[in-house]
Symmetry: C2
Subunit: 160 residues, 2 copies
């Protein structure tokens, strides 16, 4: 991750796409959200969704995985250029998470995170706080998930 001072409101991180298969939808839901429309195709077909859909929590944790992978790639290319890499995290939580549309088997969700606010932390003045808005959009251009979150990021340190 870049240092706090190098990050601007409006900076956007294209995290990448994920296609939800029936196997992973059912595998996640059997463990964490065993409602019939997440684990049983025929029951899901008779539900008001009309087919198997991913747990909303599943569509959220896939964002987390893509974010971790994105930060890792960003850190590796910064190190390759000889640039110092700022520490990031932990997250404090999130706000206003909305599941706007179901995610069906075979849907591909494109995740993107945008910086919507930056400020210096009161409790940890050596850190900045970044507020993000994250979204997932399916292959039809429909938004399926949105939420906001805040995370710590390292500052460059005292000015010379």
């Amino acid at each position: 991750m870049k240092y706090f001072e190098d990050i601007r409101v409006g900076d956007t991180f294209p995290l990448g796409r994920h296609t939800f298969t029936a196997d992973e939808i059912k595998s996640f839901a059997r463990r964490f959200d065993p409602q019939h429309f997440h684990i049983d195709e025929s029951a899901a077909g008779r539900s008001h969704f009309g087919g198997l859909i991913a747990s909303g929590w599943h569509t959220a944790v896939v964002w987390m995985r893509l974010m971790v992978d994105y930060r890792r790639r960003m850190a590796e290319s910064m190190r390759a250029r000889g640039e110092p890499v700022a520490g990031v995290g932990p997250a404090l939580g999130f706000r206003a998470l909305k599941w706007l549309r179901p995610v069906y088997v075979g849907d591909t969700v494109d995740y993107r995170t945008e910086v919507i606010a930056t400020r210096i932390s009161d409790s940890r003045p050596r850190s900045g706080l970044l507020s993000y808005r994250s979204t997932g959009v399916n292959q039809n251009g429909e938004m399926v998930i949105t939420f906001e979150s805040t995370t710590f990021v390292e500052r460059r340190g005292e000015p010379p």
Copy 2:
């Protein structure tokens, strides 16, 4: 689930406890949140957490699982008493999720959900909307997670 009309602000659902083992913390995080303090004991020991901690998303999805199990037990005992069971869900999303303290290996979290508001849905007038506040408290009485959510629940139907 009871019908909307039978649910009051202040009703509380004791969802049960969950103990987070090292194996499940690492198994969840390898798939969804592969940061070093969730997947590697020795790296976690050197981090500012001082030991392996569960992904915040893991502590959230365990709530979902306990909520699904709780609703199922409630529905079974209502059916056993010959009472009709109201449909519930889907959830619309979540607000104000805060991870207040780390959850370490061996911590036991006690989850509880309280009804904080009830109203009839504008978009689906045959349904009510329940707003919840959910919390997880560890074995030392410290709150580790809190969030609010809103979900649909069936109304009894037209008055006779």
